[in-house]
Subunit: 227 residues, 2 copies
Amino acid sequence: MLYGVSVGPGDPELMTLKAVRILQACTVIAVPRSGSENTLVAFEIARQAVPEIENKRIMELSLPMTRDKQLLEEAREQAAKTLMDLLDAGEEIACLTLGDASIYSTYMYLHNRIVKAGYPAEIIAGVPSFCAAAALRGKQLTEAALPLHIVPGSYDCVEESLSWPGPKILMKSGKQLGRVKALLKEKGLLDQAYLVQECGMEHEKACPLNQAEDAGYFSIVFVEDKI
Amino acid sequence: MLYGVSVGPGDPELMTLKAVRILQACTVIAVPRSGSENTLVAFEIARQAVPEIENKRIMELSLPMTRDKQLLEEAREQAAKTLMDLLDAGEEIACLTLGDASIYSTYMYLHNRIVKAGYPAEIIAGVPSFCAAAALRGKQLTEAALPLHIVPGSYDCVEESLSWPGPKILMKSGKQLGRVKALLKEKGLLDQAYLVQECGMEHEKACPLNQAEDAGYFSIVFVEDKI
């Protein structure tokens, strides 16, 4: 069995009881690596809650962050094959994924391939980063009659999203922070925007967006509704 | 201290380690009651993960589900006062909330009042129902370049939401199921809609929306994108 285990956004205490139980029971811990980073963030979170995973077989999956479709395709195919070979060998695998697996995660691309090939796989839901960031701010994300929009912050849909009613959450907008700030300023929304970085991690920061100069990958911008 | 403790959508194992620790440490467990229901759903979830809360002081908060603004206002004022009296008496309170506190929860209305009055309060994030329902379906909620819309399913914005790019999640659309189905049919989206009821609870059900005749309060409709 393959489990896609959501480890939450950063604070190891935001892992679920189910995630902990499955990590304890699995024989292999699979961890995506997107580049040459020294620490595997999802592994670090899981290790703090379940120290014994250090002694299990760790399988790194190389999954570069790129928009080159062929590269992505090849990397996902290779990672899925690695997992299927382990399943064929009778291993029980926990594949770690940050935040919640269903929200902009790379894990799902592996999951879909593996299920299609006939292997059993299960997703363990977790706390998405935007819920933890809202808790940190002490703010609700929603208003009773209004929708909430989760927007991939480095794609073109950001501009269109600003015209929809209700609050917006711009995910992973770090790299495009300048562009996002300019857009919000143009629409008169900059003063209603707030930035949370690395929520629940060591270098957690939260500030009004207009006070932020730059931001890393784990950045979330909250845009309140005009009303 | 008051803690708004998200208990997740139903499966007690989807509670976080932090929620468990705080329930163990608190002296009072506050539970919203919306009407004359026999079981307090959030309490039942928490009790299965942390049985010792049965022996703590339980404080029910009467918070009727109504759109009558004055009734709502009065009930929230009264519930907030109950919590503040307990804080004045030196109690540590865990106020339970289903799913995640920041997503369409009643708890936040109490939280905002209590913080405004100068009391310390903290939100403990949890797994939202739509993440657990996506995991149950084995599906991702998002596509890389597209936004995701969380829509309160019994409000007027449902119709408008169907014109936005990206998938939609219609929350708590049980009572309005007929209307939602008619709208989706009109827009040619009924075959792309899926219903999950009582995810992680005893009577969990999941089926294509066009096969569903009725639905209860804990219902989520997923509408896939046309693309």
